[in-house]
């Protein structure tokens, strides 16, 4: 049965349309600005793009409907709802979050999150277990994450002593390491930013680490050595050179 025509019912319809359009625009904007790489694994970006296009399409069709309804004097269709939110709240919430998202720039996780989550050179029991790893002949082609995966399979540090390394990541000043060490870390992503976890390796520097600020990205070239640092015998990179690099377009490794 059609409900009596009222401005509040019309307002609810407009709210739905705006919320849908805003979400479509938000998803497409994250993609076009490249910030979607901070949020998602690259494999799933297309899903977000498709959803963005679909939402803009759906919102567009409904926009025409609502404009027609606004102009005409037809009775408004009855608005059903599942009784979880009072009418209008669901859309208002979606619209508010989308508008906030449009002016928010997501930033890749850095040292603070890494320290909170605990940087390790091991993958603990409950972490997702990688099903493959690349066995490179040239050790300097191994990325930081490759090194950590290799260490997980065969953790004896002496096995790698003397091998050359060239790895990239951001710097963390871990309190338990002496002043001439820093941790070079990267986040690994499986699906979205919610499941990223940090891995890292200690880097032995020639000088104090104060010259190498936290969160700055570096390319480290050096040689693998075995040392006992912070009471633990582990694999350490003896650095020959540290080069400042800019944050990669895709900040997480997968």
């Amino acid at each position: 049965m059609p409900s009596p025509r009222s401005t509040s019912a019309l307002r609810l319809l407009w709210l739905d349309v705006l919320a849908t359009l805003a979400w479509g625009v938000l998803l497409l904007r994250f993609w076009l600005t490249g910030r979607i790489n901070v949020l998602l694994h690259p494999d799933y970006v297309w899903l977000a793009i498709a959803a963005g296009i679909a939402l803009v399409g759906l919102g567009g069709v409904k926009l025409m409907d609502v404009m027609q309804l606004t102009r005409s004097r037809q009775p408004l269709p009855q608005v059903l709802h599942i009784n979880f939110f009072p009418p209008g709240w669901g859309s208002a919430l979606m619209l508010a979050v989308a508008l906030f998202g449009l002016q928010f720039t997501p930033r890749a996780f850095a040292s603070q999150v890494a320290l909170d989550r605990g940087v390790t050179d091991t993958l603990t029991m409950t972490r997702s277990q990688p099903q493959s790893f690349r066995a490179n002949v040239r050790t300097e082609d191994k990325s930081l994450v490759d090194w950590v995966r290799t260490l997980n399979v065969y953790p004896e540090p002496d096995a790698y002593t003397g091998q050359s390394a060239k790895i990239e990541g951001f710097a963390i000043h871990t309190a338990k390491l002496p002043d001439n060490y820093l941790t070079l870390a990267r986040f690994v992503i499986t699906c979205c930013a919610a499941d990223t976890y940090p891995v890292g390796l200690p880097i032995k520097l020639a000088t104090s680490r104060t010259a190498y600020p936290q969160d700055q990205w570096f390319r480290v070239e050096g040689t693998m050595i075995t040392e006992t640092v912070a009471g633990m015998r582990q694999l350490v990179v003896q650095s020959k050179s540290l080069t400042k690099i800019s944050e990669p377009k895709n900040p997480y490794d997968s």
Binding site: V97, A108, Q112, D116, R117, C192
Partner: protein
């Protein structure tokens, strides 16, 4: 400030990952609502309670709806004379045992494929067990809301033949017959059921196509705003919890074989996140919680949660909901504890 940015980045990452799946779920549920007549399916249900429960638990593959969409469908099934075992099997399993949820879970947990299969397996098992328990009650009506009970067929057991010509949505439901492995004669419950079907069956099916498409879009918008709102609340809770709770506290809770399962079940119940996207929510706990507890979240949440209790009350009396809740909770706990102890 850095923490605040992390919370927001997490929040938007969960939403951006979940939104496509929410949209897909809403699309499927709307298409099926508009084009499928579930009376066809009821006609093909076997008498055996176990088989009916199994069938009911598997039709999520045809009606891939999450736990908000399935309550109205289950109600229509009951009123149209579906055996209780089938309706309850459907109610509990459909939000999990369906292709969209399977795909979403696969994307979230592709590194732990056993979780994906165990989720489907456990959901089926629990749904079938609870459905069989309920089927021992010969007359379900004392457990239902009076309005639903009155609309149900007066007697069960008579299954006279019905014509199948009045069915516009036949194609998809052919698979329902196929699912049974035998193309039995289409049977339909008679008596009060027909009258009730006229009252509660899907009135949209008789409408012309343009009208149906318009109603489908309306339904999509409606589900999107309800479920989108809940998704936003769920994502907010998940991202704040992940950043705000001290890591040691989370780890001590999350690494305990029993505490982790209990914590995730409570969380699933409170957060009420849609089953299409709950695997992404669970993913944010994947590094700190045991596999069994993640499974408990994924199995228990879609069956019964804070949000759909309101919906369930439109079908069942409180007593029946309490039975379903207790049975489902205990079975989830025992099964996932076995996973924690013996599998992972």
């Amino acid at each position: 400030m850095v923490q605040w940015n992390s919370v927001l980045t997490l929040f938007f990452s969960l939403l951006v990952e979940a939104m496509p799946f929410l949209l897909l779920g809403v699309l499927f549920s709307s298409v099926l609502l508009m084009f499928v007549d579930e009376r066809r399916l009821i006609a093909a249900v076997p008498k055996n309670a176990l088989l009916a429960a199994l069938l009911g638990s598997s039709i999520g593959f045809l009606f891939p709806v999450c736990e908000c969409g399935n309550v109205p469908v289950a109600r229509r099934l009951l009123v149209q004379g579906a055996p209780p075992a089938m309706a309850i099997g459907y109610l509990l399993a459909a939000p999990t045992v369906n292709p969209i949820v399977f795909w979403a879970t696969w994307i979230a947990f592709r590194d732990q494929p056993e979780l994906v299969f165990l989720r489907v397996g456990f959901s089926l098992l629990i749904a079938v067990i609870v459905a069989c328990v309920f089927s021992t009650q010969a007359d379900l009506r004392p457990l239902l809301q009076p309005a639903v009970a009155r609309a149900m067929p007066a007697t069960r057991g008579q299954k006279p033949k019905q014509n199948r010509a009045d069915n516009p949505g036949a194609d998809l439901l052919q698979s329902g017959t196929f699912l049974l492995g035998k193309a039995g004669a289409p049977l339909r419950l008679d008596g009060g059921g027909m009258q009730a079907a006229a009252l509660v069956s899907n009135p949209v099916l008789a409408k012309p196509l343009p009208e149906k498409l318009r109603l489908m879009l309306d339904n999509m918008m409606q589900e999107l705003r309800e479920l989108g709102g809940i998704l936003i609340l769920g994502a907010a809770i998940a991202s704040v919890l992940q950043v705000a709770i001290p890591r040691e506290a989370v780890l001590s809770l999350g690494q305990g074989q029993i505490t982790s399962i209990l914590a995730m079940m409570v969380l699933a119940w409170v957060v009420s996140i849609c089953s299409t996207v709950d695997s992404f929510f669970a993913l944010s706990f994947a590094s700190t919680f045991t596999s069994g507890s993640l499974l408990a979240f994924l199995v228990f949440g879609p069956m019964i949660d804070l949000k759909n209790i309101a919906l369930l009350l439109s079908v069942f009396k409180g007593r029946a909901i309490a039975y379903i809740f207790i049975l489902a909770a205990q079975l989830t706990f025992v099964l996932t504890l076995l996973v924690n102890l013996y599998v992972s």
